[in-house]
Symmetry: C2
Subunit: 519 residues, 2 copies
């Protein structure tokens, strides 16, 4: 490993041919490491070194010094990926299920551009702003790719002076994060948001958002989850009761938010050493936020004298109480866990917050949060010239995680997902029947039947039938010279391999009959 470090120091001095050589050499080396199953740390180190070499090389390519090698182009950008037919079939199936739940609750949908004026995004994401993709200034407006769908939604509401709407939005968002593709973290990924905006009575919209998350996971056959809830006013109230400065509330929340991955000792150290709380304050906070429960915990805390010194804490607890009652009506209370350590990373939440956590049978492979959201009453006001705001509450479905969970599930099943919807394959048993096949296809298409044929003039029957088996086409229409002469066609059921002769003129009605039976 020492050699690499020496190399690293020479950066920018290496000439282009040497660079090309080094990349080639290191790529061979990494393949050898993989072949002998070297440790992940070792492979990662080499891989990041190759990445660095390529970056250096890109300077030369940009300057037009050397023609880019075709093979270097053959990849999607770092942190992104193509989706092939199988992946798209799973993704579309899952999305359709999710959309049908959104529609069950009366949502409309909107769309916004993939980029926004940079200033729209500025000051909305705190530290994470560094992850925003900027566009090159090509003369004109300064643009950035959207980082989420929530800020564009707020901009849309303010711009159009919309005071109430219930909408879903599915679209790709962009973050220049360090991609951890093995963990399913990408720089381009799909978001899937449902939000209710409008001035309404407390918690009625909030509990519907949680019910929607519940319905979606059930619909996807992922019923093994729990719903953590908490309230920003309760957390703020706790900090207030501890006499912590208000300016520190949000940064403490960010630390607390790590409690699902880190032990309290680490978080405690972070809020004392890094964020300047006293040991006493930290312990006081710890004595509350490590608790979780249901109604009984709410009742207990409502009688807690220390906490009740804060009106904010009282208000938060009362809302949680009301919320739990609504959950009973919506038959989801058995899933709910009131968890004081739930803080949510984003700054803009102002009320009830929630997170859906998928529980894995295998304790080691935690999938974690698959849906989350909460109330954010002040975001729209940031865009309104008169700071008129529109209260909002929403839920964001972690579709990328759901896709990978469901892809894994499918991959374990013997049945493959169907990637095409073809109902009939039109095949020929002998040569010179292309035009006859074309006539049949045309007749089927005209009757709204999904039909395919080979694009070869004289395809082999075996290959045509293999296509049907591979792609699970239910029926094949087979024609040959005998059939043509007798004015019939053969219909083959691909899974049972049964064949039947049908009068040519009755083809469409016979196929429709069989397709209906097959449903």
């Amino acid at each position: 490993m020492e050699d690499f470090k020496v190399e690293e120091k020479n950066e920018k001095l290496t000439d282009k041919n040497t660079l090309l050589h080094q990349i080639q050499f290191m790529t061979q080396y990494i393949n050898r490491l993989k072949a002998k199953q070297a440790s992940k740390t070792e492979i990662d180190a080499v891989s990041s070194y190759i990445e660095q070499l390529k970056q250096e090389l890109s300077v030369y390519i940009r300057n037009g010094d050397i023609p880019p090698k075709a093979s270097l182009l053959l990849k999607p950008p770092k942190g992104t990926r193509d989706y092939g037919p199988e992946q798209m079939a799973v993704r579309n199936k899952v999305l359709n299920d999710i959309i049908s739940v959104f529609k069950r609750h009366g949502a409309v949908t909107i769309d916004t551009p993939v980029f926004e004026l940079k200033d729209v995004l500025t000051g909305k994401y705190g530290e994470d702003s560094k992850l925003i993709y900027d566009m090159e200034d090509q003369g004109g407006e300064i643009l950035s790719l959207r980082y989420d769908l929530t800020v564009p939604f707020a901009r849309y509401l303010a711009m159009n002076k919309i005071s109430n709407i219930k909408r879903y939005h599915i679209g790709k968002v962009y973050r220049r994060d360090n991609p951890a593709m093995t963990k399913g973290r990408y720089r381009e990924f799909l978001q899937c948001d449902f939000d209710i905006a409008g001035q309404y009575d407390p918690l009625i919209a909030d509990v519907e958002c949680v019910r929607i998350g519940y319905e979606i996971l059930n619909r996807l056959d992922l019923s093994n989850f729990c719903i953590k809830i908490n309230h920003r006013a309760l957390l703020d109230g706790l900090f207030e009761a501890c006499k912590i400065e208000a300016s520190k509330f949000r940064i403490i929340c960010s630390s607390i938010d790590k409690l699902d991955k880190e032990p309290w000792e680490l978080v405690r150290r972070e809020i004392t050493v890094e964020k300047g709380l006293t040991e006493e304050e930290a312990d006081k906070i710890g004595s509350y936020i490590l608790r979780s429960g249901r109604e009984e915990l709410v009742n207990l805390l409502l009688k807690d004298e220390f906490l009740m010194t804060s009106n904010s804490a009282k208000k938060g607890l009362e809302e949680i109480q009301q919320f739990l009652h609504f959950c009973t009506i919506y038959k989801i209370s058995y899933k709910i866990k009131f968890d004081l350590s739930l803080a949510r990373g984003l700054d803009y939440y102002t009320g009830l917050i929630y997170e859906f956590v998928l529980e894995s049978k295998n304790k080691d492979e935690s999938v974690g949060s698959v849906a989350a959201g909460g109330r954010y009453d002040n975001l729209v006001g940031m865009f309104d010239p008169k700071h008129k705001t529109v209260p909002c509450v929403g839920i964001s479905i972690g579709v990328e995680r759901l896709f990978s969970v469901i892809e894994t599930k499918f991959s374990k099943e013997t049945e493959k997902v169907r990637i095409i919807d073809t109902q009939v394959y039109v095949a020929s048993a002998q040569k010179n029947l292309l035009e006859e096949r074309m006539k049949i296809c045309c007749e089927l298409w005209s009757n709204d039947i999904n039909a395919e044929q080979s694009y070869k003039k004289n395809p082999k029957l075996l290959q045509q039938l293999q296509y049907c088996e591979e792609y699970k086409v239910p029926f094949a229409v087979i024609i040959g010279e005998r059939e043509l002469e007798q004015g019939i066609v053969k219909i083959r059921n691909i899974s049972t391999r049964e064949e039947e002769d049908i009068v040519r003129e009755n083809l469409v009605s016979e196929i429709l009959k069989k397709l209906n039976l097959n449903l």
Copy 2:
């Protein structure tokens, strides 16, 4: 107008407050112009001046000199737009129709990232490369937004060594063109492509692509169109017969492509004055490309001694002949017009090309091309390290144009498009019935019925029913104290205003019965 020009010369010297003032002043001025219905040229001049002022101002904003004014942020980037619920409803309906036709022909779907390595796009679009959106170099790869879906498709095929696939791809593409939003030309717009890749027998896949365009337009109830076809080999053969240098073939094609908008005299001038052909050569070309017809023209040209000196022309004509025969089998030949002036702008076509032109009843408002495509056999080879190619043919549906045609159609109808799918609205006639409404909603959702209610504790009955009428919710369930006491609910048919009492326990089954009848 003179004043503006003086201002323009002072660029970069104007201070920020003056700029803000000027923008404000000019905005008032443009509104006055619009009010008194000034000429478009006049308004455009002022509007482009405002654009320029804003650009100057953006320098200050970028430097953090002045806080961006909230009102300046309230717009999507130039040349882009948001889509509200009504537009999305139309767009999704049209897309679903299109996708169902793609699936009828057995297509799978894929997706690729919205940006590509810049080098992937370089050298593919000729002059139009200047319209590509580049990303800022934030350290790492040099990226650009995709310009179309065809080049990413070719990159995908080469990268994954896919030798045959039939896929559709729907996605947004980006072009820094001068937006002509009144003409429906935007910088961000949706593309909708269907392509067949693979080494097959001639024209079988090509004619299916054309049949797909035909089915889509018919499905969208736009049957008033014609399909222009031509062949790149025929055009090349014609130039060859005229003894024109091969290097000029593509730039002459670009000129000829303008014949649908410009008269021959202008195009003739362009190819002689700008592109250096002799008058004689131009007239010879003109004597061919201004012709159009069907089989009889093909037969005539096949006997044309001058044209037949070129093998390429002969091959092109023979393919057209075969293609027309296939069109008869696919029952689309009545729509086909063999038009020698059809050239298509893009460089990469190599064979048969086609364009679907929508004919407007009103001669003045020509919609023009709504679908187009052709064969491109060499594009994939540009990405393959060994230049191994995969022959392709495809059709691109001009969905943005179709959306606006269909939006206009809908806007003329009295019936509005439904933007929500709510089947039942749960309303209360008196106060204090929120929990009862919630129970009913929950029961309906659990039975897959699309149901909504007000998010207010005590909404007014009139407002609840108005919502149903505005959004065409077919049924309302109405509860009141009387109903609660008697164990019944009232079901109201919104369009007929008929009401009916139903036993509470039978609510779900009664609703399902009514919904089935209502289909």
